[in-house]
Every structure is written in C-alpha cells, then in structure tokens.
Subunit: 265 residues, 2 copies
Amino acid sequence: MQQKPQIGIIGGLGRMGRWFKRAFEKAGHEVLVADLNTPLKPQDLVQDCAVIFVSVPMSTFADLVREVGPLLRKDQALIDFCSLKKRETEVMLAHTSCEVVAAHPLFGPGEPHLAGQKVALWPARGQFWFRWFWDFLLSQGAKPILVDPEEHDKTMAIVQVINHFMLLALGRLLNEAEVPLELVKELATPSFARQIDILCRFADQDPYLYGTIQYANPQGEEMRQKYLTLAQEIAEIARRKDMDAFLKIFRQVQELGRRLKTEGS
Amino acid sequence: MQQKPQIGIIGGLGRMGRWFKRAFEKAGHEVLVADLNTPLKPQDLVQDCAVIFVSVPMSTFADLVREVGPLLRKDQALIDFCSLKKRETEVMLAHTSCEVVAAHPLFGPGEPHLAGQKVALWPARGQFWFRWFWDFLLSQGAKPILVDPEEHDKTMAIVQVINHFMLLALGRLLNEAEVPLELVKELATPSFARQIDILCRFADQDPYLYGTIQYANPQGEEMRQKYLTLAQEIAEIARRKDMDAFLKIFRQVQELGRRLKTEGS
C-alpha cells in the first residue's frame, strides 16, 4: 500500500482515544474522530476511513458495534481496544462482515509514547489489517503480542484482576489501619517502596475501567476466590506458627520467582 | 573519640552479619566475629570490643542476650538487628546494664552498599553509642530513622507482614492457576511487571526470617485478618457488579496514592 490509510477513532475524545490519535498523527496518518459530542458521527467515519478503531467504555461497546458493524464494507477493518477480548471479539464477528482485529493496549494513557509498550493482538477475521496494525506497532517501537482472546482473558484475570484486587485491599488497609502514612513511607523497605509506587499509579487511572475489569472478566470471580483461599491458608499457617509449612510455601514462591526471572521476555 | 572503636558482631557469619562486617571494615573499623563455629566466642568479643552487634535469628536472640548481656560493662554498647523491636528491646534492657541501641536495617543483604539504605534506630539506653552509630550511618550515605520500638513493630505489620503476605498469595496463585507463566510475563502491564519484579526479589531472601516476620509480629495476625476482610468486601462488591461501591473504594485508594506521593520522604 502506497498511501497511508485514513484512520477513524470512535470514542476519540476519551483518554486512550486521544492518546492513539496523537500516536497515529505523529506517524503521518490522518485521523478522524467521533465521540458523543463531535460533529462527525460514527457513520461519517465509516464512510471516510479505511480502518475504524473503537475506544469506548466496555459498557457501551456492544451497542456501538451493533450499530456501526453492519455499515462497514468487507475491505474495511474494525479494531477494538477493550480490556477483555473473548465476548468482545464475538460481538464484532457477529455484527460485521469486515476484517476484525482484537487489540488490547497493555498500558494506560499515562505512558509517554508507544515505544516499549505492549499491545495484545488477535486476527479475528482477515490478515490484511491485522498485519498493517502489527507493522505499525513495530514501526513505533511497540511490542505486539499474538494471543488468542480466551487465553488473553484468562491471563488478565491474574495480570489485571488480581493485581488491582490485591493493591486495592492494601490501599484500604493503609487508609484504615491506625499507622501514620508518613511513618509507613519512612520505614518502607526496598520491596514495599516499590509496592507503594505501584499503588500510586492508580491515581492516574480510570475508575470505571478498573471496575469493569473486576466484574466483567469471566474468570475474575474464580481467581479472586482462589487468591483469598490461598491467602487464608497462609494466615492460618502464620497463626499456628507452623514454620515448616511456611518454609515450604516460601520456597515454592522463591522457585517461581527464579522461573519468572529467566523465562519469557 | 579519636580512635575508631573495635566492633564485635555476634552472628557475624550470617548474611547480614557478613554484610555489615564488610561495611564496617570498608570504613576502617576492626571487626571481630563470633558465630556457632568460630574460634572467638561471644564472651571473647565482649572482652575486646567497645560495641557489640547482635545479628542472629530472632528465635535464638533472647537466649543469646541472657547469656551475653550481663557480661557487658556500662561503657559498652549492645546493638541488635532484629526485624522486630519492642520485645527484643525489652529483653536487652532486662539483661544488660550497658548502652542499648535498637536497630533494624530496612533492607536485605542483596543490596550493594549502605548508601541510600534506611536503618530504623532507637536509643533504648544511653546516647553515646546511639549517636556514634547514627553518625556512622550518615557518613556512609545511609538514612537512619528515629522510631519508637512499638511504633516500628506496628508499622512493620503492614510494611513487611502484609507486603510479604499478599505477595506470597500471588505467588501461590501463579503456581496453581493454569495460566502459562510465559504468557503472564508477556502480557504483564507496566503495573504487573513491577509486581513480578517485587516477587522475584523473594528468591534472594532468607525463608526463616520471612517466617518469623509473619508469626512474631504482635500485630501480624490482626493485620492479616483485616487485609482479608477488606479484600473479601471488594470481592463481594465485584461479584454483585456494584459499580458505585467499587468507584467509591477506588477513588479513596487513588486519594491515598496522591497523599503517599506528596507526603513524607
């Protein structure tokens, strides 16, 4: 393809929408934007753009796809940015006949640029636009990751659901325990100082999105309960002062730590 | 004082003992070491050293202090490195008449040097050796922190007990959930990648010490139960898909994050 395709972003006034608009424009693409109060409507974007990104809250995603999907021609593409992928991909496949790419940018709009960031991708229908987006991400120094939507959601039940869940509980404890925050910070070990840094990153995130991630992930409830059960077992071992049982668990987690260090990317 | 005092470390072959031996020697101190199989015994150190550091497992600490404490003269100092401070300080005060400094190095032996590291300190009896150790730490670029033993233990019930507790539960979940570790790493968000880094640091730590921290902190059980209760409430809110309740909690934790960012050190 010689000419850069014109890009449409539905939900283009949201934080992630604006973030990607800037990234596409920096790379020389023309970007049209539709949102609740823009002069252009989703239908206008479908008219003028080769590829349509959908960057809307997951709660309104299905309705939007039902409305816009049927308007898209076979040579166009629909690419979503939802934090969950299985049901969302099924909705897109059911309501359009164009190419469909399932995408999940694995970062928030607080990051400075695409370079170094990961985007989970799946070619739900067709290869042309999938390859185009994959190559675009590579060209920006980002890291596209090929992952099946179901595997994605299952993994995110730990990576996002449990991570946010355990941090939120820690945040509530810090709020409710009668320990001065200043002292907590002063006495923070290198490990806990890092934990506080992670917690502070919440300040920059979208509460609605984080709520949706908790309740909409199909494995979320199961993982939360599993986490609580495993934590309760540790609490019981500590209450009994059962050092042997504790050492066994600790060493298993140390071994996991060593595998995490050497494995993968 | 013109001459550098000779330092004795009981438990000087342990990892923290060796670590501080190196740090003291680098600063020009002569250091004598006693441990289970050394030619020098604790009694020999008491004979020859102005200041005695105790860097032994908390499980053997009280017995050791009962044995060595009465041998120390009033112008000497006993300084401990226990991860807990209230009961440990009381034991020292009860069994010696020399100066007593309660110290807790807030880092592990995996750190490269004293510069930048924190050490919690309390002058349990006397000021001379307390000032000497405080100034030594400052001279090495470390950060001594004055904190009452009881406040210390209460704060550590979050900074260490809960931090390790929530990370151990996460480690167990990663071990037991049927999600490939490689995918977890690949799909890690910036937040979760940091969480994995913290977890990996366990590989370098002493399992016994971490067990003792869990079961010996006087507030440990209360904090673990409080953490579990707060986490269960979040799980229940997510199960009910109660977005309003979730938003309220999330925003409280965001507000905490903002306070943590601006407050203290």
